[in-house]
Symmetry: none
Subunit: 423 residues, 2 copies
């Protein structure tokens, strides 16, 4: 089964937004073992959209289109789809009810043009929208299929995983399965990980050449905020042996990579920190400076954070570190400072553990320290916490203001899961 | 002059890397008034690359190709270009010298396969590489042109601005330009904005039909975190009239949309808040609850925040609101609570203005209040601040835990720029 992706939107063509939708869809297709043949982008122009849909469909069995389903005059994907199908657009009474209900539930007047979103090409079916008002479309064209999804990323993602991927797998029909696990790491570069795994790479290549069944493959996905994800996948007949082959490989790779692995099941580092604290019945507070609240914000992204995370103080201006936290160190970007900040946070929030971070995000230097200089401190009280080393950590990071803050935040969370995990 | 972009690489198709190259090229073309017709992506497969090059060239005058110029077996853009041109590949002696020189200058042995990079389709010229070893190509095909650039972003960018854009402008000859402005809004849905602009849409459509020069066009881009962006663009002869047409339309649309517009020049709301505070010489502190630090984190994303932002307290657990902030209200999700939180924050941080936010992010209800219930309070002291209304605002938001937090944060920043903007 060959698929293609078509992204619609002049703002993508103008480079004003990055088409993350196509990237996400490509990943999902790859993870589900569905073959992607090509992607393309076209502006908000009816003739060109129709032309692009036809050309993509000529090359593939299933086309996934994103964008152009909104309620405004420049949203013309529905019209284009009806032209490609060679049918009229009809107003679907059920969709009218759903869209009117959406506004009623919010006590809002429905702008009349929202009813444009109730139009469906004759013979197509719709994908219910669960987050906004634009429904998706499933358009049969001969023995091929075209899915039209909204361009708003969270709406698109939800429809893709709920309706499109299952439908594609159903149409695909083969009993072929692709299974995978994501090994999550922090603190090693992609090339360092690749070097550590080179023998294993060679071994898997030999297996592949000998056509051994259920041979795992390894792929990397590096991300500034979440670290390097090592994806292990196996494809083959959907049998228990396939799962065994996957699990064995995951154990092997994790053992080789060691301490930089924080999850073998794709969990985020925020999840791992939460589980570490909750399973030990400990509470956490944070004192932030250069990250401005990013660490707290990332922690509370996971439901259930209130069971262990008491709160944080963002002491952004240097003055606040002295006036509110009463730190004595004159330097506010130093090992001494984060040590004092962590101690002060522990008593302010009355928590079992306090994490403190201070540094220079840039673009300017501070106290003669270069952008990227970051200190992380950790302070705990109580007997059972004596295993936690409270020596502050100094980092030298590179990159933009934003990437320094992101890497600093993840490094702090990683320190937390490592040290508190020892208790 | 119509251009197209073709990105080559299986790792892009698998979603393993984001194709930032096409985004960059699109921006450069737009900034230089060169018309981009479409973009596409294809994997490392000779037949499909040739097919994609031919199809793109059939639609445009100039094709910019990225990727596949490296020294390894899967780099086949040179072969594909020679097939599309209908000529042989030849080794260019000057290129051999340059590539050998690159390794000699670094005292490194040249791997033999690097000489693949000295191959040029007969009749094509090359673009000298100044950062690595892969030269670019300029391939004439009839009266059309195809540029092949390396996929490594900094190498691609350097060649694009040094060789490709100037060559395109020279070929273009016309002094055609596209100019645009982004009007940034918060608090109105895309469809409500479209409804408000429907008369203006009709007027512009009539102008278009009558082929009036410099007719602006309007496009929308909705985003959960940043609001609805209304892009006004005009294309035409690059004359002062073009700028006047753009500026007039921006003023007109801003006036129609009114208070929901926070910038007519594409600034982020964080920038607008910063400028509002700095120009009034005021300082800010924040007390957050459900957002967990997100507001502070977004504020410090802009350089220069330390001139006005003192810090924030994240009082995540209800207990902290009582123990640290000493609020008396039993309910922590209420107008009364955010009022007390803002007052307490003002005195804790000794700031001119304090913003406080509390609410239910979900998935569970709290104090019998549904997820999405959010209160925002604002407190100020001093005479000149009496213009700021300190009545708390109640919001009812919908969506996931993450989208509720994002919308709540932007709503709080929007309240800040509106109220403090009155001072």
């Amino acid at each position: 089964m060959r698929t293609e992706i078509l992204a619609i939107g002049t703002e993508i063509l103008l480079g004003q937004i990055v088409d993350t939708n196509s990237v996400h869809i490509a990943q999902e297709l790859s993870d589900n073992g569905i073959y992607l043949y090509g992607t393309s982008t076209v502006g908000d122009n009816l003739n060109r959209i129709v032309e692009s849909m036809r050309y993509s469909l000529s090359k593939c069995d299933a086309l996934i289109v994103t964008g152009g389903l909104g309620p405004t005059q420049d949203d013309i994907t529905r019209q284009a789809a009806s032209i490609v199908m060679g049918v009229e657009l009809e107003q679907d009474p059920q969709l009218v009810n759903i869209i009117e209900g959406f506004f009623k539930a919010r006590n809002r007047q429905m702008p009349a043009n929202n009813l444009l979103q109730a139009l469906v090409p004759k013979g197509a079916s719709y994908i219910e929208q669960r987050q906004g008002t634009a429904p998706g479309l499933i358009c049969g064209i001969g023995n091929k299929v075209m899915y039209c999804l909204p361009g708003v990323p969270h709406e698109m993602k939800e429809m893709l995983s709920r309706a499109v991927i299952p439908d594609l797998l159903l149409r695909d029909g083969e009993k072929w399965a692709v299974k995978y696990s994501n090994i999550m790491t922090w603190g090693m570069s992609e090339s360092a990980i690749a070097a550590k795994l080179s023998e294993e790479f060679d071994r898997l290549e030999r297996m592949q050449l000998e056509n051994e069944l259920n041979t795992p493959s390894i792929a990397f996905l590096a991300n500034l905020t979440t670290g390097v994800k090592v994806r292990i996948s196996v494809s083959g007949q959907n049998t228990p042996e396939l799962d065994i082959a996957l699990n064995n490989e995951v154990s092997k790779i994790s053992e080789i990579l060691g301490d930089c692995v924080f999850s073998t099941t794709g969990e985020s580092i925020e999840d791992v920190v939460k589980n570490t604290f909750i399973s030990r019945n400990l509470t956490l507070s944070v004192v932030e400076s250069l990250t401005g609240g990013l660490i707290g914000s990332r922690l509370v992204g996971v439901p259930g954070t209130s069971f262990y995370f008491k709160g944080s103080l963002v002491a952004y201006q240097s003055e606040i570190k002295h006036s509110v936290l009463k730190i004595k160190s004159e330097s506010v970007v130093s090992a001494l400072a984060v040590n004092e900040m962590a101690k002060a946070g522990l008593s302010l929030f009355d928590s079992d553990v306090c994490l403190a971070i201070s540094g220079v995000a840039g673009p300017d230097s501070q106290e003669g320290k270069e952008p990227g200089t970051v200190y992380i401190g950790l302070y705990c009280h109580g007997d059972k916490l004596s295993t936690v080393n409270v020596e502050p950590v100094e980092l030298k990071l590179f990159g933009t203001r934003d990437s320094i803050r992101q890497i600093a935040a993840t490094s702090a969370l990683d320190l937390l899961r490592k040290r508190v995990g020892l208790i």
